[in-house]
Structures are given as C-alpha cells and as structure tokens.
C-alpha cells in the first residue's frame, strides 16, 4: 500500500503515477493549464490548473469507467473525461456513499 513517492528521490517529479495501470496521476506541484507533463513516458497537455495533491486524467476516461489510483478503484466517472482534464468531485462519484461531496454550501 505504500506510495512510491520515495522511489526516485533524486529527481523531484512534478507528477506522480501511483501504479502503472492508473488512469489518474497526482500533481506534486501546482500545475498550470496548457502545461505538458510527462507521465510514464507520455506527454499529457493539461486542460485546467491542478493543485498539489489533486488529480488529472492521464488518458481519456469513458462515462462510468472506474477511476483507478494506487491500482485501486476510487470511484466512477460521471461523464467522459479528456486526457489532461482535472479529475475531482465535478466528474467523479463514489461507488459507496454517493453524497461524498455533501459539503455545506459548496456541493
């Protein structure tokens, strides 16, 4: 279960793909729209800003497709998500408790 962030301490990566089959990667620094980031050898152009710790799609994700991080399912896409698109509560739902985003005033 341990993250692999420490496996390459020499080069400070800007993104982190937690497991090879994941369809989302994590920003390790604030990433800007239009920027191209390198994920597992491929270049992904970002469509929105992505804050530290937040996620973006590393490839196109179909509606209802499982979102995978650490090679584990963390929810399902509520619509088609483009490669490089910001992935968060606006396009993903929980497969368990669907009111996850029932946050006062901001849901």
């Amino acid at each position: 279960m341990n993250a692999t962030a420490s496996s390459e301490p020499a080069a400070v990566a800007r993104v982190l793909l937690l497991a090879p089959g994941d369809n989302v990667a994590v920003a390790l620094a604030t990433l800007r729209a239009g920027e191209c980031v390198s994920v597992a050898g491929a270049s992904v152009p970002l469509r929105q800003d992505v804050m530290v710790g937040h996620k973006f799609a590393v490839r196109e994700i179909a509606p209802d497709e499982t979102i995978r991080k650490y090679n584990c399912p963390i929810g399902s896409a509520t619509r088609r998500i483009e490669a490089g698109e910001y992935v968060h509560t606006h396009n993903v739902r929980s497969n368990y408790l669907t009111n996850t985003t029932a946050v006062q005033g901001t849901a």
Partner: protein, 419 residues
C-alpha cells in the same frame, strides 16, 4: 471492489544502531503490570454541570501535571462509564479527582471503586454536598495539592518497546496524507510490531472500500469476515446519517471520494498481519496490529459515530495507547489529555505554514528532501524519545483536547481476537 491488491511498498529494516542510540524508555509501573510514560493526575467532571468547577481546579496547577477530562451527559451510558474507568486507570494516569454535581445519572461510585481498585489515589467531590462552587473548588485544590507530591515522588523503571501500545489517527486529511505521512506511520507501526509492541489503527468509516484488502491481511479467515462486517456496519451507519466521514477540507485538499480518502487512511496500518478487531476500551491482548471499531453497534442513535478527531483519540487512549501518532495534511493542531500526540505533517506547504505545531515533516518526501523509509525511521525514533520523556509539540503548546459523548457497543465476537 476489484480483487487487485495495492502495490507492496518498500519495507524498511530496523537500524539497530539508531535503536541503541535512543535514551531508554522509562515507565511508571502500575499494579496491573502496565507502564505509563507520563504520570498525570486527571480531574474528571461527570456531567457538564460540574465542568466549570473541575476546570478551575485543574487550572490551579501546572498544565502538564493535571489534565481535565469528563463526560457532559446527565443520562447514564454504559459506554461512557467504561471509557471513564479505562481513562482514569490508564497507565499514563497516576490519580483521579472526580467532580459530580450530585443529581446526574453517572455511576460515580462504580468509577471511584474502579480507580481505587487500580491502586491509584482517588477522591470524589459532590458539589451539592460540598457547599457549592467555592467550597468544592477549595476542597478539590486541597486534595490535588496533597496528592501531586505523591505522584512526583513515584519512581520510573526501565521500560521495553514491547510494553508500548501506540495508536494512529489521521485528521485534516488531504491528498498528500496517503502519499507521505500515513505510509510513513505505517512503516513505524511495522517497526514497533517487530519490537513486540501493540499498535492500533481505527475509524472503520474511513476504511470504506478497503474491506477486502484488510480481510486478506487478517490472522484468520473468521477475523477477515469480522473486519469486512465492521466496514459494512460503518457504511450503513454513515449512509443513514447522510454524510460520510468526509469534511469540506478533504475535497479542497484533492480527495474526491470516501474510498479515495480510505486508501490514504489505510496506509497508516502498515504491512503487518492484522491480529484482531477491538472495541473502544479493549486492551490489545498481545503484540501486533489491531483495528479499533469506533462505529457503534445496533440501530443508529446518538448521532455521528465520532463527532471529531479527539473523540477517536480518547477511544484509542482508552484501549491503553500511551502515545498517539496523528497525521495531518490540512494542518490540525490538536493534542490530547492523558497521552502525548505526535503530529506528522503530510503536506510540505502546510508544514511551512504551521511548523511550530508539527513534530515530523513527512511532506519533504514530495520535495525530494527525504524518503519514506527515512521518515518512517524518524517517527519510530521519535516514539522512543517521547517514551523517554521528550515533550511533543502539542504538549509544549498545552493542547489537551478531550471529548466523550454517548455511544452503544455490543461485546466483540470470538472471531475478533483469535488466539
């Protein structure tokens, strides 16, 4: 749930040289065989109506020597009584002053008897019988003044790492928690277990989605079923209440769903075998890794399972934890009454904003200033220093948060603690 197993992280070996370099642990021996790493006197109010008098008594004394705990409710509750017994007889506690208004439902004779039977000094003051606020304050201060010197005179004895029970919790989580602080604390857990210590992780409501991974790590298949059932119970409980254990800050920090939060939270448990499932107030029977089921049994009542992080910390302490590891991404500042809290900061930006509140800068992993095994080792070493008397940041800053509310639990089944 996919059958996919999360990738195995890098294991780390105990560096015996570092182990030897630490000051040895010193403990206060208790009649039940356990040892405390602190020797505090608790002032405990047994209903909110006695809170003010209890607080004023506690405030009269050095903050690190006298801690305030209590139960606010007027109605009796077996869980609350059991929690208060376990807390007043905790290894880090050397004596207890109990403050009652007089008409509340709390079974104060039972609590006093339990503390007395444990060999600790104890006194109950009933405000209605003691002449009101001023008279009770005077009597309480006099008793603590007379009792504290006894605690100060108590001698410590050498203590082994195997005599530690360490709990872990995450609060104010963000997406960095599961990348840095939580897996580093998991590594520290693995190191502690290798030394014969008992460790406890908790909050089944934040393990939703992890039930099958956990079951694979169970000591027996029956325990695996019990672990799954505990998470199912949590999912049902939270579904009824309408909110999962997921705060606005979790989403602001990049966590999208409860199962994503769970993935990060689960990393706190390390890689060891899961040896048992316990309820609040249950001591781990031997070394190893235990899951604390904090979600009440039976129909949903009394509200949210844990109204905040300190409610969970109090339950870990009631299980005998002498030290709590607390990971935070957004930046929590809390400590606790009774047991020191070690704050492990997952997010390097948060650390820069709130360094004074943090014991460990785990977020440096994200900036290439350290590795996961290094931070795991640092936490393991810090546990030993705190066990030898070093104060944590929250202790230095005077944090002694405490909360206890109503709950209901059934005893754990036989499958939960396989022999």
């Amino acid at each position: 749930m996919s059958p996919a197993r999360p990738p195995e992280g890098a294991r780390t070996a105990v560096r015996s040289t570092e182990l030897a370099a630490c000051a040895p642990l010193r403990g206060y021996p208790r009649d039940d065989g356990r040892k405390g790493i602190r020797n505090v006197l608790v002032v405990a109010y047994l209903v909110e109506c006695a809170h003010h008098v209890a607080r004023e008594i506690a405030r009269h004394f050095p903050a690190h020597e006298v801690h305030l705990i209590g139960f606010p409710g007027c109605y009796p509750n077996p869980y609350a009584l059991d929690m208060m017994k376990k807390l007043c007889c905790h290894p880090n506690v050397g004596g207890a002053l109990l403050l009652s208004l007089g008409c509340e439902g709390f079974n104060r004779p039972a609590l006093e008897q339990a503390v007395q039977d444990s060999g600790r000094p104890v006194r109950t003051l009933v405000i209605q019988d003691s002449g009101g606020t001023r008279a009770t304050l005077a009597a309480g201060i006099a008793w603590v003044e007379q009792t504290l010197p006894l605690l100060r005179e108590q001698e410590t004895v050498p203590m082994a790492l195997s005599e530690l029970v360490v709990g872990t919790i995450c609060g104010g989580s963000d997406a960095t928690s599961g990348l840095t602080a939580n897996p580093a604390m998991g590594l520290a857990f693995d190191l502690l277990i290798a030394q014969g210590a008992a460790t406890i992780f908790e909050e089944t409501g934040e393990l939703i989605g992890m039930e099958n991974f956990m079951a694979e790590r169970a000591r027996t298949p029956e325990l695996g079923d019990a672990l799954r059932a505990s998470v199912d119970k949590a999912a049902g409980y939270y579904a009824t209440l309408g909110y999962p254990s997921f705060a606005p800050g979790n989403a602001d920090g990049g966590l999208t769903t409860i199962e994503e939060k769970s993935l990060g939270a689960y990393a706190k448990s390390g890689q060891s075998q899961i040896d048992g499932l316990i309820k609040p107030g249950t001591q781990p029977p031997r070394k190893g890794l235990y899951l604390l089921d904090v979600v009440p049994d039976g129909e949903v009542r009394f509200g949210f399972p844990n109204i905040n992080d300190n409610a969970e910390i109090a339950e870990l302490i009631a299980c005998g934890c002498q030290i709590i590891l607390f990971s935070t991404g957004r930046g929590s500042v809390v400590g606790s009454a009774i047991a020191p809290v070690i704050k492990v900061c997952a997010n390097p930006q948060t650390y820069r904003r709130m360094a004074d509140d943090m014991d460990v800068d785990a977020g440096r992993i994200l900036e290439g200033r350290g590795t996961l095994p290094e931070v795991g080792q640092e936490i393991f070493t810090l546990i030993q220093r705190v066990g030898a008397g070093e104060q944590t940041r929250s202790e230095v800053l005077g944090h002694q948060e405490f909360i206890l509310t109503y709950k209901h639990f059934e005893p754990a089944g036989p499958a939960c603690l396989p022999r």
